[in-house]
């Protein structure tokens, strides 16, 4: 069973629908025992970092998320889920989960529209199982105003250009996280989700 962590951050059903289409069983849950016993975990989310961390802390999910990650369970962050696995976010000056070193920073306005909304490409820095069989020219769907800035360069799997070059896929051991939405990125996005569901959490 795959667990989608429910922390009341936006619409989690689109990830569930994409997994259903791939015939992958999953549960949207905030129950510690379901999350801890899951074969793999998806941590999606849209919305604001401060509110998300409030819910995570008040529902006792902070330690559950750290525990499931430390057990080596394959873990996929998506969008806001990618930002709040870092140590902190400029959004609401939130203290976040600190699973990967670094922070989420806001795009500087002026020359670009914010949010960064639409389809954009990746520059892959290092190979990863979730990118297996995916053409390097593929575009993915993004919608965000903040972006991940991991402290360690080796945690950057791919980057994307939007006035700045930012980390669009980050990863460390059994954790991998995409700033874009694979569940909204067409057939290739489904392929990425399928790759995650076949990944053993080891590089």
């Amino acid at each position: 069973m795959l667990a989608i962590i429910d922390y009341k951050a936006g619409n989690l059903t689109s990830v569930k629908r994409a997994l259903a289409h791939l015939d992958i069983l999953c549960a949207i849950t905030d129950k510690p025992e379901t999350i801890l016993s899951a074969e793999r975990v998806i941590f999606p989310g849209v919305g604001a970092a401060g509110k998300a961390m409030e819910v995570i802390n008040s529902h006792g999910l902070f330690h559950v998320i750290h525990e499931v990650v430390s057990r080596g369970t394959p873990f996929l962050g998506i969008c806001l889920g990618t930002q709040i696995i870092l140590e902190r976010s400029e959004e609401d000056t939130a203290t976040c989960l600190g699973i990967i070193s670094g922070m989420a920073r806001r795009f500087a306005g002026g020359e670009i529209k914010i949010p960064h909304m639409g389809w954009n490409t990746l520059s892959v820095r290092r190979p990863h199982s979730i990118l297996k069989g995916i053409d390097p020219r593929t575009q993915f769907y993004f919608v965000h105003s903040y972006y991940p800035v991991p402290l360690n360069q080796e945690d950057i799997i791919a980057t994307t250009d939007y006035n700045v070059s930012f980390a669009s896929i980050i990863g460390h051991q059994n954790v991998v996280a995409t700033q874009f939405h694979p569940e909204k990125s067409g057939q290739v996005g489904l392929r990425l989700l399928k790759n995650f569901c076949e990944w053993d959490g080891v590089l």
Binding site: A18, P115, W119, S185
Partner: protein
């Protein structure tokens, strides 16, 4: 580089796709779910469903359409038309839509934008705006006036001013429909698209008037739209999404092509 988005609009009346000219005279042209699937396979970037169902007791039909689309199509899509309350927004989003587009209700009750943005996030809230040329006055300095009720009721509100206000209220995107250009196939209304694109920092979708790929090139290059809405040019099978994108790519415009 971020691609310019091509968005296909389907007007849905009681569960069937229809198409009108200048907001009137709608005729049925197909099943929205199968049409959506076909455009998805052609590589469209996003879809919008406008519910133009006349009677309110048939409104649940659009929820069934949204649910069926969401199970088969894995790109973002928005739903507009008849969204008046936060409950309406919630119903459409939980059925699987990515965004909701508010138009008349947002003009009448601007709080709908701010409340919707607070609860669901700005990225979910698209301001749909119907604008029409008007004499320039102190109330309408841009020369474009906001209309509501499907383009029937002028509001005496300046289109550029309303775009800025909607952004301040928390709208994540603006879909600008030109009443003058709608259904003409003669090209987008470039002047107002450019004015609004310059006035706000959120993405702007141009709508109304697309008849051939050159029109999309013009609205991207001259009016700096972030996305372009199309309807009849694909509904009547004059062009496929792939043909439009190949043309734009050849013209140097960044688009997402299927690989």
């Amino acid at each position: 580089m971020l691609s310019k988005r091509i968005i296909i609009c389907l007007d849905v009346r009681e569960g069937k796709t229809t198409k009108g000219v200048k907001f009137e005279g709608n005729i049925e042209i197909g099943n929205p779910v199968s049409m959506a699937r076909e455009y998805y396979e052609q590589g469209v970037d996003e879809l919008v469903f406008y519910d133009i169902t006349a009677s309110s007791d048939k409104r649940n039909i659009i929820i069934e359409v949204v649910d069926a689309v969401a199970k088969n199509i894995f790109i973002p899509f928005a739903v507009g038309g008849g969204i008046r309350t936060l409950d309406d927004m919630y119903a459409v989003l939980s059925a699987g839509a990515e965004k909701i587009s508010v138009n008349t209700a947002a003009v009448v009750t601007p709080d709908l934008i701010s409340e919707g943005a607070k609860i669901f996030g700005s990225q979910c809230v698209v301001l749909g705006m119907d604008a029409k040329k008007a004499p320039k006055t102190s109330a309408i300095p841009s020369g474009y006036e906001v209309y509501i009720n499907g383009g029937r009721t002028p509001m005496g509100i300046d289109a550029v001013r309303w775009a800025r206000e909607a952004q301040n209220l928390g709208a994540g995107e603006i879909c600008l429909n030109s009443i003058d250009a709608d259904g003409t196939n003669e090209g987008y209304e470039l002047i107002i698209t450019e004015k609004i694109s310059q006035a706000v920092t959120i993405p702007v979708i141009a709508s109304g008037g697309a008849g051939k790929p050159e029109h999309l090139k013009d609205v991207f290059m001259q009016a700096h739209a972030d996305a372009a809405l199309i309807a009849s040019m694909v509904h009547y099978k004059q062009y496929t999404v792939g043909e439009i994108k190949s043309y734009l790519a050849h013209e140097g415009i960044p688009v997402r092509e299927l690989i």
